[in-house]
C-alpha cells in the first residue's frame, strides 16, 4: 500500500496504513490525523503516477 507510518505509544506501535484501523481511531486525534496524512500522501502519490 505504500507510505506506511508507525505511531508509538508507550509499548504499543500502531502501523498507520491507508486502510486505517480501529486501533488508530481509538488512539484519538493523533491517530485520526496520522491516518488522514497517510491517505493524503497515498492519494497524491497515486495522482502523480496517473498524470505521468
Amino acid at each position: 500500500m505504500g507510505n506506511k507510518v508507525s505511531l508509538q505509544n508507550k509499548n504499543q506501535v500502531y502501523e498507520v496504513t491507508v486502510e486505517g484501523s480501529l486501533g488508530l481511531l481509538a488512539y484519538g486525534d493523533i491517530g485520526l490525523r496520522a491516518w488522514r496524512k497517510v491517505k493524503q500522501s497515498h492519494k497524491q502519490h497515486n495522482d502523480k503516477n496517473e498524470t505521468k
Binding site: 505509544n9 486505517g20 480501529l22 481511531l25 481509538a26 488512539y27 484519538g28 485520526l32 490525523r33
Partner: protein
C-alpha cells in the same frame, strides 16, 4: 497541570451483562484496570428511560420535570417545526454551569443535548459536531453554536470522521462476514459506518482537548454501544429462533465489538490523565441482551421501556475513591451532587440526588445550598435562546427514527407539532408517575384524553405520507393522536391508588380501543380483582397468563396473591420462579424476603432483602424487610440502621419503619418480657381497637371501655336489638376500611370496633392497641346462626375453617405490623373474672380508667349461646 480533576465518561446503554464475560476473557482490559483501582456497581435508571432526559438528569442532579428535557425532539420556536432536542430545553443549571460560576474550567464533548454550546469557561463541543451527512458529496459546515469558543472551530473541525471514510479495516474486526451482506437490501452496514464515524469524531475531539487544554472537569458522551445495540442486538448470541441464520452469522459479533472499541478508547483516555484525576465511567441504562430482546417493537410500550434495562454501569477510580470495591444503590441523579462534593461545593436542596458518600475513602460531609437556581451571577449560560439560522436536522431526525426512538414525523407540520407536544406532555406525565406524584401525572393525562384531536381523512392516505401512517397503524377516521398510551398510564395510576372501579373503567376503555391489548390485561385485571377482594379469581386469571407465557411479572403477582392469602409456601415458590426468570429485579427478592420471614427463615430472608437493596437502594420496603429479618435474628443494632434507612428514603413516609424503629429503641433501652405483644404503656395518640370474630364479645368490651372513660367512635346507625340489647358500638366507615382508611385519624385516643378480617387494612400511620376478643368458636358460630334466624344446633364446618384461618392470619399480621400491640381477652373471662380482665385491659391501654364502672357494666345475663 491542574489537580483533582474529574473526568466523566458516558457510555450510553452499557450493561454489565455483556461486560462481565468480556472482562473474564481479558477483552476489556482498560475497564478492568479502572475497576481494580476503584469502585464499580449498578446505577439505576429512571422512567421513562429516554437518553436525553437521563443524561440531563446526570448533569443536573434533577428529575426531568425540573430540568425540562422531556424527549428526543422539541418544538422549534414560533412553531416552525420539530427538531432533535437542544440544550434550550434544559431549564436548570448543569454541573458545568455551577463550576463556571466558581471559576473552574470544564470541557464538554458530545453531551446529549448540548447544542447550542454554552459559553462556559473551557470548551463545549456540542452533540451537533459529530452529526454529518452520510453523502460525501454534501457539504458539512460547522454550524454556529456547535463549538464554544468559536475560535476553536478551525483547530477542531478536521477531527470529524465521515461515514464514507470507514474501511474494511474498521468493519471486518466487528463484522467478519461483511462481504456477504446484500447492501442493496440491507442498510445495516451504512448504520455501522455512521455510528462508528460519529463516535470516532467524539473521541478524537476529546483526546485533543485533553492534551491541549487545561481543565478541572470534563464530560464526554459516547452513543456507540447504545446505537450498536439498537441496530445489532437481535443478532447477539444466543441466537433467537426468529433470526435468520445467515444474518445471525454475519452480525453476531457486532455488539461485543462496540464494547471492545469503547474499551480501546478508554485505554487511550486513561493514558491522557494523571493519577490526580478521578475517572467515572457510567451508563444511563442497560440493554436487554437475553431472552427479553425485542425483535419487533410493540405499538404500546409498557414501562419501564422495553429494550432498555433498569440498570446501567458505574465505575469510578481516583485519589479519594475506594479501591476494588463493589458499591450499591446509585441513581443517575446522584452523579451531579457527588461531583459537586468532589469539588467541595454545596449540593442544591432542590436536587433530587444525593452525594454517593460510599464511594469515597475519606468522605467529605456534604454542604447544602437552597438552590443553585437562585444564585445570581455568571453561570456561563446563554443570555437568551440562541437559534442557529440553518437548521439542517434531517439526518439526525432520520437517525432517531432508524433507531426506533421516535416515529417518523408527520408530513403535515401542524400535526407533527401537535404530536410532539402531546408526546412531551405524556413523557412529563410518565416522569411524575415514576416519582409517584399521581396527582400531577393524572392532571396531564386527563388533559390529554379530554382533548379533541383532529382525525385522519381519506385524503391523508393519498399523499406521500400514507406509507408512514399505515406503518404506524393509522387508518382514515382515526384520531391523529393515539390515546391508548394515556389510558395505560391512567390505569396504572388507578391501580396504585387502589381505585379499582376507576381502574376497571380504564381497562374496559383500553379493551374497546385495542382488541389486541391482551398481555397487560391479565396483570391489570388480576390486580383489580384482588382489589375487589376476589383473590381466587385473580389467581385463576394469572394461571392462564402463566400457561400462555410465563414471565417474572406474572409470577410476582401470583406470589403476592398467595402471600395475601397466607399461603406462604406457594408464595415462596412463585417469587422464586420470578427470580429464576429475572434474577436482577429487586421487587421479587424483597417479596421473597418478606415471605421467608413469615415462614421463619430469617437468614435467607435477610439475604434476599440485601440483594433487593443491592439492586435498588431507593427501595424503602426492602430496607424495612431487611430490618424485620435482622430484628428476628436478634441483630437489633443493624435492624435499627435498616429501619432508619427506610425512614430516610423519600418520597413517602415509612410509618411501619418508624414504629419498628421505636420498638427496637424500647427493646434496647428498656428490655421487657412482652406478652401478647404489648408494652403495657400509653402510646401517644393511640387508637384502641376492639376486634374479634362477629359475636365474640366485642360490643361488651366497647361498653366497658366507654364506661371506663375512653371515648368511643361510633355512629349509632345500627340500633340495639335482641342480639345486642345494649347496642352494637359500630362506626359505618369501618365497613369500607379496605377502600378508604384515611379517616382513621379521627379515632386517635378513642376506641373503635373493627372485625377481624378488616384489621389488615388499618393504616400503619398510627399506633394501635388491639383488644382481640376470643370466644369458643362453636359458641361464636352458634350465636351467629341464632342471630340470622338459622338453627343454632347445626354448625356449618366451612365457617369453622374460615374463622380458624382468620385467627391464624391475625397472628401473622400482629407479628408483622410494628404499629400494632395486641392482647387476647377471653370472652368467658370477661364474665367470670371481670376484675382480672379490667386490670389487664387498663394496663394494656396505659391510661387511668374507671375500673369499677367497667366491672359493673358487664351483664352476665346476656351470656347466652353457651356450647
Amino acid at each position: 497541570m491542574k489537580q483533582n480533576k474529574v473526568l466523566l465518561i458516558g457510555w450510553d446503554a452499557a450493561d454489565w451483562k455483556i461486560i462481565w464475560p468480556l472482562i473474564a476473557k481479558g477483552e476489556m482490559p482498560a475497564l478492568k484496570k479502572l475497576m481494580s483501582k476503584g469502585v464499580y456497581g449498578n446505577i439505576s435508571t429512571m422512567n421513562p428511560p429516554y437518553s436525553p432526559m437521563l443524561w440531563s438528569s446526570v448533569a443536573t442532579g434533577k428529575t426531568p420535570d425540573k430540568h425540562g428535557v422531556l424527549g428526543f425532539v422539541e418544538v422549534m420556536p414560533q412553531l416552525k417545526g420539530i427538531r432533535p432536542v437542544t440544550a434550550n430545553s434544559r431549564k436548570v443549571r448543569a454541573i458545568w454551569n455551577i463550576l463556571h460560576y466558581k471559576g473552574y474550567k470544564s470541557n464538554l464533548v458530545g453531551w446529549w443535548p448540548s447544542f447550542p454550546a454554552e459559553p462556559i469557561n473551557g470548551v463545549v463541543v456540542s452533540d451537533k459536531f459529530q452529526k454529518v451527512h452520510k453523502n460525501p458529496k454534501k457539504k458539512n459546515p460547522i454550524q454556529k453554536g456547535t463549538i464554544h469558543p468559536e475560535s476553536l472551530v478551525k483547530s477542531l473541525q478536521d477531527l470529524r470522521m465521515f461515514p464514507h471514510e470507514v474501511t474494511a479495516a474498521h468493519i471486518l474486526p466487528c463484522i467478519p462476514k461483511a462481504s456477504e451482506i446484500n447492501q442493496e437490501k440491507d442498510i445495516r452496514l451504512q448504520s455501522f459506518a455512521k455510528i462508528l464515524a460519529e463516535n470516532a469524531s467524539v473521541h478524537a475531539t476529546s483526546t485533543n482537548l485533553m492534551r491541549n487544554t487545561e481543565w478541572d472537569f470534563m464530560a464526554v458522551y459516547y452513543d456507540l454501544i447504545d446505537h450498536f445495540c439498537h441496530t445489532f442486538m437481535k443478532f447477539h448470541p444466543p441466537k433467537l429462533k426468529e433470526v435468520p441464520l445467515n444474518l445471525y452469522e454475519i452480525y453476531k459479533d457486532a455488539v461485543v465489538s462496540a464494547y471492545k472499541i469503547q474499551d480501546m478508547m478508554l485505554e487511550r483516555t486513561m493514558q491522557l490523565v494523571d493519577d490526580d484525576t478521578t475517572i467515572i465511567v457510567m451508563s444511563d441504562h442497560g440493554f436487554e441482551s437475553g431472552h427479553r430482546r425485542i425483535l419487533k417493537m410493540p405499538k404500546y410500550p409498557a414501562a419501564p421501556a422495553l429494550e432498555h434495562r433498569q440498570f446501567g454501569i458505574f465505575v469510578a477510580a481516583g485519589p479519594n475513591i475506594k479501591q476494588n470495591e463493589k458499591i450499591y444503590g446509585l441513581g443517575l441523579i446522584d452523579i451531579a451532587p457527588t461531583i459537586l462534593n468532589m469539588f467541595d461545593l454545596p449540593v442544591g436542596e432542590d436536587m433530587d440526588g444525593k452525594v454517593a458518600l460510599d464511594i469515597f475513602k475519606q468522605p467529605k460531609e456534604p454542604k447544602y445550598i437552597d438552590s443553585w437556581e437562585n444564585v445570581k451571577g455568571d453561570f456561563g449560560q446563554h443570555k437568551k435562546i440562541v437559534e442557529s439560522d440553518v437548521l439542517d436536522n434531517e439526518q439526525t431526525m432520520q437517525q432517531l427514527v432508524d433507531l426506533g426512538y421516535i416515529e417518523k414525523p408527520d408530513e403535515n407540520l401542524e400535526i407533527a407539532i401537535l404530536k410532539t407536544k402531546c408526546d412531551l406532555k405524556h413523557n412529563l406525565a410518565r416522569v411524575y408517575l415514576g416519582k409517584k406524584d399521581y396527582e400531577h401525572s393524572k392532571l396531564l393525562l386527563l388533559e390529554l384524553i379530554n382533548t379533541k384531536f383532529p382525525k385522519y381523512q381519506e385524503s391523508d392516505f393519498k399523499t406521500k405520507n400514507a406509507e408512514n401512517l399505515i406503518k404506524q397503524g393509522f387508518k382514515a377516521g382515526d384520531s391523529v393522536i393515539d390515546t391508548i398510551p394515556f389510558y395505560i398510564d391512567l390505569l396504572s395510576i388507578s391501580l396504585n391508588e387502589n381505585n379499582f372501579d376507576k381502574a376497571q373503567l380504564y381497562l374496559e376503555k383500553l379493551k374497546a380501543l385495542d382488541k389486541k391489548y391482551e398481555v397487560t390485561t391479565f396483570i391489570s385485571q388480576a390486580k383489580i380483582l384482588v382489589g375487589k377482594r376476589k383473590p381466587h379469581d385473580a389467581l385463576k386469571l394469572l394461571e392462564v397468563a402463566k400457561d400462555r407465557k410465563a414471565n417474572a411479572e406474572v409470577w410476582l403477582q401470583i406470589g403476592i396473591i398467595y402471600r395475601r392469602l397466607s399461603h406462604f409456601e406457594k408464595a415462596k415458590e412463585a417469587f422464586q420462579n420470578a427470580i429464576n426468570i429475572e434474577v436482577d429485579r429487586a421487587k421479587p427478592h424483597q417479596a421473597l424476603a418478606e415471605t421467608l420471614i413469615r415462614l421463619g427463615d430469617y437468614e435467607t430472608a435477610a439475604e434476599h432483602a440485601l440483594t433487593a437493596i443491592e439492586l435498588v437502594k431507593y427501595f424503602p420496603e426492602a430496607h424495612y424487610t431487611l430490618g424485620e429479618a435482622l430484628e428476628k435474628l436478634g441483630d437489633l443494632e443493624n435492624a435499627k440502621i435498616a429501619y432508619d434507612t427506610a425512614i430516610s428514603l423519600k418520597p413517602k413516609k415509612h410509618h411501619r419503619a418508624e414504629k419498628a424503629k421505636e420498638n427496637i429503641e424500647d427493646k434496647v433501652f428498656n428490655p421487657i418480657e412482652v406478652r401478647d405483644k404489648s408494652k403495657f404503656k400509653y402510646q401517644k395518640d393511640q387508637i384502641v381497637i376492639v376486634s374479634g370474630l362477629p359475636r365474640s364479645g366485642t360490643s361488651v368490651m366497647m361498653q366497658m371501655l366507654q364506661k371506663g372513660g375512653i371515648e368511643v367512635l361510633i355512629d349509632y346507625n345500627r340500633k340495639p336489638d335482641q342480639s345486642n340489647p345494649k347496642g352494637y358500638y359500630e362506626y359505618d366507615p369501618v365497613m369500607a376500611l379496605h377502600k378508604d382508611n384515611s379517616w382513621l385519624g379521627k379515632a386517635q385516643n378513642k376506641s373503635l370496633k373493627v372485625v377481624a378480617p378488616l384489621l389488615k387494612y388499618l393504616s400503619p400511620k398510627y399506633r394501635y392497641k388491639v383488644i382481640f376478643m376470643n370466644r369458643d368458636l362453636s359458641e361464636v358460630v352458634k350465636s351467629q346462626q341464632k342471630m340470622i334466624g338459622k338453627n343454632p344446633d347445626v354448625l356449618p364446618i366451612h365457617l369453622f375453617e374460615a374463622y380458624n384461618k382468620h385467627l391464624r392470619q391475625v397472628e401473622v399480621w400482629k407479628n408483622k405490623e410494628p404499629s400494632i400491640e395486641l392482647v387476647y381477652i377471653n370472652y368467658k373471662d370477661v364474665l367470670d373474672n371481670t376484675e382480672d380482665v379490667v386490670e389487664k385491659v387498663t394496663s394494656f391501654i396505659g391510661v387511668d380508667m374507671k375500673k369499677e364502672a367497667m366491672v359493673e357494666c358487664v351483664d352476665k345475663s346476656l351470656y347466652r349461646n353457651k356450647s
